[in-house]
Amino acid sequence: MTPTAGSGSSRRDSGEVSDDMATGKRAGPAYGFPAPLWKALERHRPPGIGASSRWWRSPLRGPWLTSVFALVLLCALPIVTLTGLLSWVAYGSQPIPGDVGHLHLPFFSWPTSPAWLYRLNQGIHVILGLTLIPVVLAKLWSVAPKLVAWPPARSIAQVLERLSLFALVGGILFEIVTGVANIQYDYLFGFSFYTAHYYGAWVFIAGFVVHVAIKLPRMVTSLRSRSLRKELRTPLSATLPEPSDPDDLVAINPAEPTMSRRGALALVGGGSLLVVAVTAGQTIGGLTRRTALLLPRGRTYGDGPNDFQINRTAAAAGIKPADAGAGWRLMVSGASAPMSFSRSELLAMPQHTAVLPIACVEGWSTTQSWTGVRLRDLAALTGITTPDTADVQSLQPAGSFKRAILLSNQVLDPDSLLALRVNGSDLSLDHGYPARVVVPALPGVHNTKWVKSITFAGPPNA
């Protein structure tokens, strides 16, 4: 398998020789071309950095511990990545960012069934992503000696690998910071969250895939070097440093352990459990919502029919009460001449009730009982029974989500509604009065509120 480039550092007396010494010679570290340059670099070490190998004193650091964290991340990060890329597809014909070249999953019509699909996707993406923060921090802590090791490289291969690590570490930290800020509606960075998080993910993917390809054999070897079961039975008093390793992760000068290896694993795992405990409530909702103690979506509104999570208030969206009042009329157009309906005319049409979640990209969701007119019934009124799209416009004067284009399956689902009522009451203005769209498994922001018009497009009825 591919040997690792990072293993050319100074040998210890342990006699351990890493596999990239293809020549089989044990003498000194190997230098790639141009050797004089790498040797000069090694001699000219900045003050302070030289003694770095003695700074690191933790007796727990070592390839086995690093590999345990690596294995967790190797299993979980692809799930976070994939759900993120799926969310981009779920935005249908209006993904953000729009033109991403070839950097996307194959297009497909995001299904409307099961209705909780987007809720599950984003719940996993956000909660699992948050859960991994302690593991990422622990992993970075465990390899910290590599950060200031001198020389930083002894070959072109090592230079390239260091650069790829910048994509990996920068990518994961950038994704964590932008994601964590976004779920708290903190846009201090001044760029589009969607765009940055999406392209940041691809930088991360580039670093991650190549890191796994290069380090996987090392991870497997390291994991085999100790038995997890045995470690879980080893108390502090029997905790000894790992044997010295070619990557110099194991401290040369280890301090007395203050924590066993199983204690360290429990500490990191406990950190992850703590994060789940205070965030999962925003996705699960119901009684657990209050457990999301530190998140905006853990707050509750009250007990009324309209007291559930608001995604953008009417005031913030610039909805004038007059526009949404008695004079409001819904414009519906398609194959036949445009029609307009007052709210009472819509209420006089056949009503359908569906229990559907509103689930947002930030991973929160809220499930309510919505009542209104089926979108497919409205389409049929305009002379289109098999619409390709429905262009839904809001009264909202500005903003990214004042308009949503629904795809064929999203219009035709029997539970896709132009909702007029929720939980047996009229919608409140903040929830989209006079009428809002609710479509199963559709990203929350595309469930347009304060609907002004719907334009169906497709072949007219035969």
Binding site: A22, S155, A167, L188, G190, T195, T258, T313
Partner: protein
Amino acid sequence: MRSALQQFRRFYGASPLHLLAMLACFTLLAYVFALTRDFSTAPRMAIWFLGVVLVHDLVLLPSYTAVDRGFGWILRKLPRGSSERRTVPIVNYVRIPTLAAGLLLLIFLPGISKQAPRTVISKTGLSENPFFGRWLVLTAVFFFISAALYAVRRLRHGFARSRTSGDKDPPRRVSQK
């Protein structure tokens, strides 16, 4: 053939597969760069990308390492009576609640520090007001639980020592949290 491979390795420093993996990585990165370079916000994104790495590597990691070392140093300097030599070490009873509180502070800093009161109100209709207080309460709870566990361990340790004066077992540690 074999010697050509060896020559390549001596020149490059790793196998040809390594080089191929690197080229794949940098080609993808170049493509991302090409897609984003015309964005007006691209420089800001690049600064943040660099910034998060620097903040982690030069601020976060050194500071929690320093705090941990400093705390360990203080503990070692504390005067200890000979009877307390083999008592239950306190270090993890401080370290673990501190890390728990620090983790929550790190993740929920925007809400705890009321970083974005206007966007939160416009998005949710509610304020960020309770978060700082809730974080303080959670922190207090972590330290309280830790203190209680420590007290119990000390008491049990004391009983065990008084019962079997020749107890040779060092204090065992269970994983807390």
